[in-house]
């Protein structure tokens, strides 16, 4: 095996998946470990489905093969379903319990699965549903949802929480350090239970 711990972060362009990936990268640097990552840039970011591949201790290419991810973090319920085949069987999926409907659902009257259906379809995985909006608001800003999600997934990663928290502090805008540090801790607590 390649020996890396592979995390896929998915969501919708603009939700902050890139900052989440940068935080993981910084945490690896703090621990002196190698890392590889790949992400979506360019036009695909305009409200489209986006994915960030992160390979902790990765030394080869940046891409995770479908069916090989050790952990999936999704900022949206529907995106969790879309990328679920990337995850190894029975592994953990940390999901923001919120679903933004693609605009085409309204303009073209497409069927979209409801929250219950998505959760049912993902039951074979170790699901951790997080009310990121609520928790981020509690931390001080709904914009800190991505950090809440990282906190919630932190106990499932082979990285020390101190390194992750330090990485959060280094990378978020200076004015928001306190809020994001709180968001990380609140997320971390929420991720502990199911």
């Amino acid at each position: 095996m390649s020996g890396s711990f592979d995390i896929l972060i998915v969501g919708i362009g603009g939700q902050g998946t890139i900052l989440a990936s940068n935080i993981l990268g910084e945490a690896c640097l703090i621990e002196g470990r190698s890392i590889r990552g790949a992400e979506t840039h360019g036009m695909a970011q305009r409200g489209g489905s986006v994915e960030s591949h992160i390979r902790i201790d990765g030394v080869h290419g940046p891409l995770i093969a479908p069916g090989q991810a050790d952990l999936l973090i999704s900022f949206d319920l529907l995106e969790a379903l879309r990328y679920s085949h990337f995850l190894k069987p029975e592994r953990a999926m940390v999901i923001n319990r919120d679903m933004v409907h693609p605009t085409s659902v309204f303009t073209h009257k497409l069927a979209v699965p409801g929250e219950g259906e998505v959760i049912e379809a993902l039951r074979k995985y170790d699901l951790r549903l997080i009310d990121a909006d609520k928790l981020a608001t509690e931390a001080g800003s709904p914009l800190s949802q991505n950090v809440v999600m990282l906190g919630a997934a932190s106990s499932l990663m082979p990285l020390k929480p101190e390194s992750l928290l330090e990485a959060v502090k280094r990378l978020v805008p200076r004015k928001t350090i306190e809020i994001n540090a709180k968001a990380f801790e609140i997320g971390r607590k929420a991720g502990g239970k199911n």
Binding site: S21, E79, P102
Partner: protein, 589 residues
């Protein structure tokens, strides 16, 4: 040595700083744009930097700087090199004295592009060296070598990363930034820089004579290298190397190709020590063709006999499939898995409050049964609204419009082009259409910036790449100078006004230009513009769906009522469209 977690393009930019680059230019294009965006954001810039108006303009600027003995970097995406192909081909003849690195970023799988062309073919065509990194660290490490090779051989060097290098990240070891002391000086030498036939014939011969030494040097530098491990071998290039390394079975030899041209003699020595050779590379069979030339009786497996695809991008799982097909047992099998079917797609979409959506709405309303040529930019997403019928390359909306109009097609032709694309290669099409009497309407979607690639300024913005004020070009005056008499500028949020202008244009013959001008909504948000949000009054809403069909991502529809989400930026276009007046500004009744 400092280690940082960097995007490929950021690592490339840093390597340029380590190389003491003197002159930087280019035209934005995914996946290349962040190199210049990183360099222009440096707090200290002891080098000249510009966003040029197109790739041909950029390359000619960079070439001239390199003629003056300074180190120049010119960046673009692969299709930009088509635009710059004219100076490229002859720059190999004139050569350079300062290092000239042309970064042309390829996009296998066309993540953000109109095709999947392979820049390595251009390097072969122009007979210039080409470096093709296998990962982010190597991309960084190859940049100083590219400048050195360029200076050693007096030739431009093409640097060809792909999307999975430019937009990958890794922990990268960085060297110290070097401040250059070079100063440009043009030494007159007409035999070198004036390519009249008598000179160019000699220059061509000189270029050809450089080739054997280049091939040898690339091997000496260790850019192309191998390890013998058994009787069978894999030859991989670019990012393909990293995928092969992840899957390499024990006892299989590996050759890594990161530079072109490949030394045939050296390659033959490797191939002929094996009983079977598999070639793994993205896009064109550039390596495979050379391997086949030298393989003799050794079987070569690759694209030409169906083991690997010609199109798309490689990945660990794609390489695992190729290995198995070719009789190698991958170290990790990566069995195929099936995605969950029938999930509604979430393609990129024009932003809530985007000026293009309202412009397209008005166009479709007035020109119901028309042909809609369009161009390359965010507004290509107008395909979702049914107002983009053609897109081929930068600047090809006005030209395609005039071609269709002159073909005898009886329907009206109305084309759309963004401000940056118009200034890139659109002006010539307009000039040609007026000169030759085309009967078309041109809508310039003017958002004051090059938005799609990450909001780079252009001559229309009023700022240079480094934030220095510059006189914004007058699109109106430019169009009039081309001979257009009907040129009108309007804010497309004013759908009524825009509709009236389009109706006026429709009545007239000849070339009509409407400039739909409004700031890109992302820029508006960044610069602190606040317009307030709009809401749907549920009692007044009759559920007719007019606003939903407008296609704004801020408008949802459930329980037979429309609803406006937090994405609203207050453009108010939906409020103007609502037949019952149910959409009102938040806080007002």
């Amino acid at each position: 040595m400092e280690r940082k977690y960097l995007l490929g393009n950021e690592a490339i930019a840093h390597a340029c700083l380590e190389s003491g680059v003197d002159f930087v230019c280019g035209y934005p294009g995914t996946p290349s744009s962040e190199v210049i965006d990183t360099l222009r954001a440096q707090p200290e810039r002891p080098f000249y930097l510009e966003w040029s108006v197109n790739e041909k303009v950029a390359l000619e600027n960079a070439l001239a700087a390199a003629w003056c003995g300074v180190r120049a970097l010119c960046t673009m995406k692969h299709v930009g090199l088509n635009v710059a192909a004219d100076p490229l081909m002859t720059s190999a003849y004139t050569g350079v004295t300062g290092g000239l690195v042309i970064m042309s970023a390829d996009d296998p799988f066309a993540h953000s592009s109109q095709n999947e062309q392979d820049t390595r073919c251009y390097a072969h065509f122009a007979r210039v060296p080409c470096l093709d990194p296998s990962g982010v660290q190597e991309a960084h490490d190859l940049i100083p070598k590219a400048f050195e090779l360029s200076e050693e051989f007096g030739l431009p060097v093409i640097f060809r990363p792909t999307t999975r290098i430019c937009h990958s990240k890794g922990d990268v070891g960085l060297g110290p930034v070097v401040k250059s002391t070079r100063k440009g000086e043009f030494k007159k030498d007409p035999r070198q820089y004036v390519v009249i036939p008598a000179h160019t014939r000699i220059l061509h011969k000189k270029l050809n004579e450089k080739q054997p030494a280049i091939r040898k040097r690339l091997v000496e530098l260790g850019l192309n290298r191998y390890e013998i491990r058994g009787k069978t071998a894999i030859i991989a290039s670019g990012i393909g190397i990293s995928y092969v390394e992840e899957l390499l079975p024990a006892g299989v030899s590996l050759m890594r190709i990161s530079a072109y041209p490949i030394d045939e003699e050296w390659l033959a020595g490797f191939v002929q020590q094996h009983e079977k050779v598999l070639v793994i590379e993205e896009l064109a069979p550039v390596v495979e063709e050379v391997v086949r030339q030298v393989a003799g009786t050794v079987p070569v497996l690759g694209k030409k006999n169906g083991y690997a695809p010609y199109e798309g991008e490689l990945s660990p799982s794609a390489v695992a499939v190729i290995l198995e097909k070719a009789g190698f047992i991958p170290a990790n099998p990566y069995p195929p898995v099936v995605p969950v079917p029938d999930i509604p797609a979430r393609p990129p979409i024009l932003c809530a409050g985007c000026l293009h959506r309202s412009a397209f709405y008005a166009i479709k309303k007035v020109y119901k049964d028309a042909i809609y040529p369009s161009d390359i930019g965010c507004y290509t997403l107008g395909i979702q609204l049914g107002v983009v019928d053609t897109t081929i390359c930068m600047g090809a909306s006005i030209t395609v419009a005039s071609g269709i109009a002159h073909s005898g097609e009886p329907r009206d032709v109305i084309c759309t082009i963004g401000d940056s694309t118009f200034l890139h290669t659109g002006i010539q099409g307009l000039l040609n259409a007026v000169y030759n009497g085309a009967n078309i309407t041109v809508v310039i979607l003017d958002n004051r910036i090059t938005a799609m690639t990450g909001h780079q300024p252009n001559p229309n913005t009023g700022l240079t790449s480094c934030g220095v004020e510059s006189p914004p070009v007058s699109l109106d005056a430019l169009c009039r100078a081309c001979g257009v008499t009907f040129v009108e500028t309007i804010d497309p949020y004013d759908v009524t006004g825009m509709t009236a202008l389009l109706q006026e244009a429709k009545k007239r013959s000849g070339v009509k230009v409407i400039i739909a001008k409004q700031m890109c909504v992302i820029m508006a948000r960044r610069s602190g513009v606040k317009r307030g949000k709009y809401i749907v009054d549920a009692e007044t809403c009759n559920g007719c769906g007019t606003c939903v069909r407008f296609g704004c991502p801020a408008i949802e529809f459930s329980n037979e009522k429309a609803r406006i989400t937090d994405l609203c930026f207050g453009c108010a276009v939906c409020a103007r469209l609502c037949p019952t007046g149910a959409i009102v500004r938040e806080g007002r009744k």
